[in-house]
Symmetry: C2
Subunit: 421 residues, 2 copies
């Protein structure tokens, strides 16, 4: 639903001259409109199969209307810290997230990075060693880097590899050391989900173990109610981010507290499927208070800007009430079926059938770049991801499917792709 992408761009009144280099960059890298199934760049309209606006909420007219209403009513920001005054849409986001997860409360921060930086720091007394999926998002690595405990340099384990995690735990943990495992729920660049069910079973065998999931790309997509990767694997999403009453007591020396079930920690950003911006942490009231007390970000940084909070709150309301997730899943099934029909190998074992990013490895890097370029020349944008630790040395093509793609658009993509192979 490219509601706004075909508008003529009104010439913005920019008095600042661009350099030639800047102008070139901006022509190549600017959206002239919101990200959606169709976008406009430098006057040319493209079918868009990239990024992570999976539900099209970034361009949803109801979201845009709510955002404008908020701008006119509340202005741009509060120009003070959250501990002084807060705008109501910020509280609304927190209430909606808490309701969705069935937790007592939630904390809404200006960025997903901020949420992750706050998280590990406030958990510092609950773990001794950090184990992290080697392909985790940078913000998890950044959080881990901030921890300055003795013997606490993060230990990586092989991407989505429960056996390797076990090996690393056994090789590195000393008696009474409590591990925390860090991973993305969904790996946006790989189209895969972490085997959280296997991890929780494994970690239950380690005294004091816990698991922290950054579910930026699972939230809104996976699970019956869109709560993400935990829900997808049958884990209790309402049990995330709880603390025992005696957090400040002897928890850190009592290895038996979590011998039966491991604590689950969860953060995610709202700038992907949720069509907003910022990071959130649902949890118990005590847990949220602990976060606030342990981080300068809460009381010294600006709150999420009011219009963005309003956009996010509206997006969350739509997410809860609409059939967008079902439409997305239908499109995911459709595109995988069509890609298989042109002879491509799309294994469902490597990723959940519900995940909207399809990763294709088609020969060498040069071949994939050629395919991406030819598609672009024919008016279709997909991403080429350079090599990384989980994709292999040649990188891969990434096709992102949205709820707002029509069947005709998907057909056009697959038929055009077939011509380039």
């Amino acid at each position: 639903m490219p509601h706004f992408t075909l508008y003529d761009a009104p010439e913005r009144n920019i008095s600042v001259p661009k350099t030639a280099a800047q102008a070139a960059i901006e022509e190549t890298f600017s959206f002239d409109g919101p990200p959606d199934a169709m976008i406009t760049i430098a006057g040319k309209v493209y079918l868009y199969f990239a990024g992570s606006g999976y539900l099209g909420l970034q361009a949803n007219p109801e979201v845009l209307a709510a955002t404008c209403e908020s701008v006119l009513h509340y202005g741009v920001g509060t120009a003070t810290s959250r501990t002084a005054f807060t705008s109501p849409p910020v509280f609304e986001v927190e209430r909606r997230i808490a309701e969705m997860f069935g937790t007592e409360h939630a904390l809404y921060t200006a960025s997903g990075y901020a949420a992750n930086l706050m998280m590990l720091e406030s958990l510092e007394k609950t773990f001794d060693r950090i184990f992290i999926d080697e392909a985790s998002h940078y913000s998890l690595f950044e959080s881990a880097k901030r921890i300055r405990k003795k013997r606490c340099i993060p230990i990586t384990f092989r991407h989505r590899d429960t056996d390797d995690l076990k090996k690393k735990l056994d090789a590195n943990l000393q008696l009474h050391e409590r591990p925390i495992v860090l991973t993305d729920g969904v790996f946006a660049q790989h189209g895969t989900a972490a085997p959280l069910n296997e991890y929780t079973v494994l970690l239950a065998g380690y005294a004091g173990a816990s698991l922290w999931v950054d579910d930026a790309h699972g939230f809104g997509i996976l699970g019956n109610t869109g709560r993400g990767t935990l829900e997808h694997f049958g884990l209790d999403a309402s049990a995330v981010n709880q603390t025992p009453d005696d957090w400040n007591g002897d928890w850190e020396t009592d290895d038996t507290v979590y011998s039966a079930a491991i604590p689950l920690y969860l953060t995610f950003s709202l700038s992907k499927a949720a069509g907003g911006c910022g990071g959130v942490i649902p949890g118990s009231a005590a847990f949220i208070q602990r976060l606030k007390d342990h981080s300068s970000v809460y009381f010294a940084a600006s709150a999420p800007p009011t219009p963005i909070a309003a956009a996010t709150a509206k997006s969350l309301a739509i997410l809860a009430e609409s059939n967008l997730r079902q439409r997305l899943h239908k499109n995911v099934t459709l595109i995988k079926s069509k890609l298989r029909s042109i002879g491509l190998d799309i294994p469902d074992t490597l990723y959940s059938a519900a995940l909207p990013a399809v990763i294709l490895t088609l020969g060498a890097a040069a071949n994939m770049k050629r395919i991406q370029k030819e598609l672009s020349q024919r008016g279709i944008l997909i991403a080429y991801l350079p090599r990384n630790i989980a994709l292999g040395s040649q990188g891969a093509l990434r096709i992102a499917v949205f709820a707002t793609h029509t069947e005709a658009m998907i057909t056009e993509l697959v038929e055009t792709l077939a011509k380039t192979l």
Copy 2:
């Protein structure tokens, strides 16, 4: 100019029930409208002399109109990283900042915290020891905490005390160690500016020394063109954030490169006087590229949300063209004169005459809290700041003056304050 604060709040369609505790917090801590000279909280209208919306741009109708225009045209966000696609208002902010400072380029990040986290990390090869004003903003301390170099635990010096800085430098630096000094330009909670002119003279005597200023509360307020505290002290704001061509070369071992003049580094957030949100770093093209290359924030975090970038760009345009800064300075002079006329001691030596935050220490903490409460009951909000390292054990009252306060509002504040003394 409380343009929107007196509107009836449309009942937002919130399906999520509030707990009684949440409702109480929200009634006390929610603005029902933008922060400006007058605000509404829980149905009551107040004169507002708090926060840092010094120029009233958070509620400026032109800013709000530009924000809405941007929402309808570009949507809420790009749902991808900056290295893939960027919305034009983000580029516009960077061009306007670069033009204002006379630098080749600028980087715009989603938060001031993010800008500060990127900054020190990318400078890591240029210093050996960190010296920081004890009352600096938390985000400077956070940035310093991330540096894991040997012997690089931050050393604090007394608030705004050049002599103590010299003592700390001399006591801690070993031969060939290069110091970097971190400070706020303007201390928002203290109504004071750092003596940057003294620091630069002092630091010129130390080989390889540099100075990094977080000017969140100086930008838009100080200096003939609003470029902030550096400009206020006659330092060349266009010389900030430059790097030698051979950054990757032997700079780190060549103590003589900066023996004549010290490099100045500058970051600031745009959520105070500038009426927007996010952090910026003006600088040379090479310096900005270095920042981008050295931080995962640039390529892995969401860009500033498009509507906020549009609000910020418009605010910067107004800042450059309007007389808001002159109106603010007139109000600052007026309120200080009126406060002196009721017998209060307002020393201009402790802070620049141009600074819009007036700090009052009136006896014990209990007395100041009483005054704040009585003012609130009479419809005037000012802040009470609890004790901190630079304010002393009793804390202080803080009165923030805006460009949008009328003379009648300032008179009402001062006359009401006189009754409570």
